[in-house]
Amino acid sequence: MRTSLPTKIALWALAVVVSAWLVFPSIIVIPLSFTDKASLVFPPSGWSPRWYERFFSNPAWTMALGNSLLIGLLVAVLATILGTLAAFSLRALRNRSLANALKLGLLAPMIMPGIIIAIGLYALFLKLGWVGTLHGFVFAHTVLALPFTVIAITVGLAGFDAQLEQAALSLGANPLSTFFWVTLPNVLPSMISGALFAFVTSFDEVLLSLFIKSPYLNTLPVLMYSSVTRNTDPTLAAAATLIMVITTVLVITGLILSGRKKHASVL
């Protein structure tokens, strides 16, 4: 069916409005971060990179950025290892209803309201003395990131032809070499995409982090949140822009990787 020209124009206009509505609040921090004024007034009257200079010359901001990157990296590694083990075990389980129940349990942190996890973890961490510790942050963020790696790797495995493993065995590869030479290379793109999502989940996490932070260990989103309640200088916009650029690049990379995996499995 051909769409008439007026309908086409109307649909395009609607699409543009909705896109703008979705993206505009995020995009607006970019010009704000380059303002020459000391307040978050939009539109800016002049341009200056001074808020980026201030961001990178203030040890509080750079420490928080460093913490976020370090925690994100550790979470990505941990969640990917655990997610891989979980996805492979779920595939190997003969009892499918048990496998589905376990999968639901693994995905629970995605459905559970964040505030409930936050309060639960806070109570637990107080008892363990993990509040404000690096391993505390990594543990807490991994809980939130694990569903993403489990999903990504499960999808990757679903597109993986198990007969390739039979072929490898028949050609003389033992089960361990079959895993490393045949299974892993074919699931790697989904593992990487899972790792990227895990990193991003940790990198922009605020809610849990607010509960378990300490004056000595802060992440970037937490510092932004506490600085916005004190003063609103555009350093905040510079930090927000940095987070946005990093997460956007990683998420797009992740999507491309998982998309390519699906495409390859079709062929």
């Binding site: 039979q166 072929a167 028949s170 050609l171 003389g172 390859a264």
Partner: protein, 341 residues
């Protein structure tokens, strides 16, 4: 690991049974696959032929019975130590490896020197008519080319037995026929034991030294194509392989299986040659095929049959003509056939 002798191994299956929680996939199979022969497991889907292949390969475990390879019991030998070559219906080429690396895979696992691997891979590529395709990836090849690579990969390490699981099932008719001849030639050249699974009776007749006909988890008959065609032991075999007319005896549970060229059509009430048996039939239609006529007939019990002849009396030409079907008992077989309901 099997030595690269120039003959295939023999396989003894003794009382092989595979039971699943809700079904009996294979029921007490005893079969001897001779060294170097081309044996086809033929049967409809769900008859157990693929299950048997998977048991020989080691992908699934036996419920009962034993499998011997050249006198060595292999029931508990894991797949990667059985040293059998396997060709899958959907090729199962490694998508992340090039064609050359796919063929080199079994040699690399056997820690063969690189130089030797390169020589063997190139030789296999040349045999498969794929020289120059070594650096491509499997997805860049056609289905037929991919299956040639899979064959090369399964043969490069000189296994004594090659198991083929409906390897031509995913290909179109022309290509299938070309590859049938190619597989036949490879079998002659390498002299290994081939066990081939298919549900296509024509393919089985074209390729095999012997055929094992499967039905509901059991082997109905094992024999050469000629034996199965001329002396089927059961109605199932008779109907699965080739065309035939089945005429039930008036008393008892036996029936005559009459191949199309072993029957004659006569005018009703005409004289029957000595020693021949007859049945009243109706000729539905006759088709001229150049080499002769093909007549589709209906029996009184409403089953249909086929008769081939050089020529028939003019009075029998037409549609729905009554006639006499005659045959000589020595030229046809009698099988057990419980009355149909």
């Amino acid at each position: 690991m099997p030595a690269s002798s120039n003959r295939g191994a023999e396989i003894y299956l003794d009382g092989v049974t595979k039971r699943y929680p809700t079904s009996l996939a294979l029921d007490d199979i005893t079969l001897h696959v001779r060294a170097g022969e081309f044996l086809t497991l033929l049967g409809p889907s769900g008859s157990g032929k693929t299950t048997l292949l998977n048991l020989i390969a080691g992908f699934i475990e036996l419920t009962a019975g034993s499998i011997h390879l050249d006198g060595r019991r292999i029931n508990d030998v894991p797949v990667h130590k059985r040293g059998l070559g396997i060709v899958f219906q959907h090729y199962a080429l490694f998508p992340h490896l090039t064609v050359s690396d796919n063929i080199a895979f079994p040699l690399t696992r056997r820690k063969m020197p690189k130089e030797q691997i390169r020589e063997l891979v190139n030789a296999e590529l040349a045999t498969a008519g794929l020289s120059g395709y070594g650096k491509r990836f499997p997805r860049e090849l056609s289905g037929g080319q991919q299956q040639r690579v899979a064959l090369a990969r399964a043969l490069v390490f000189k296994p004594e037995v090659l198991l083929l699981d409906e390897p031509l099932g995913a290909l179109d008719k022309n290509l299938r026929e070309r590859l049938q001849l190619e597989i036949r030639r490879i079998h002659r050249e390498v002299g290994r034991t081939f066990v081939f699974v298919t549900h296509d009776q024509e393919e089985a007749l074209t390729l095999s030294d012997r055929i094992a006909v499967f039905n509901e988890g059991r082997i109905e008959q094992v024999g050469t194509a000629q034996e199965l065609y001329e002396r089927p032991v059961s109605l199932f075999v008779a109907e699965f392989i080739g065309e035939s007319t089945v005429v039930p005896e008036t008393t008892g549970d036996m029936a005559w299986v009459i191949r199309p060229e072993k029957a004659k059509l006569l005018e009703p009430h005409s004289e029957v040659p000595g020693g021949c048996l007859t049945a009243d039939v109706m000729i539905q239609q006759s088709v001229y095929l150049g080499s002769g006529w093909k007549h589709e007939i209906v029996l009184p019990d409403n089953t249909t049959g086929v008769v081939r002849s050089d020529r028939i009396p003019d009075s029998l030409h037409g549609v729905n003509i009554p006639a006499q079907l005659t045959w000589h008992p020595s030229e046809v077989t009698r099988v057990s056939a419980p009355k149909r309901t």
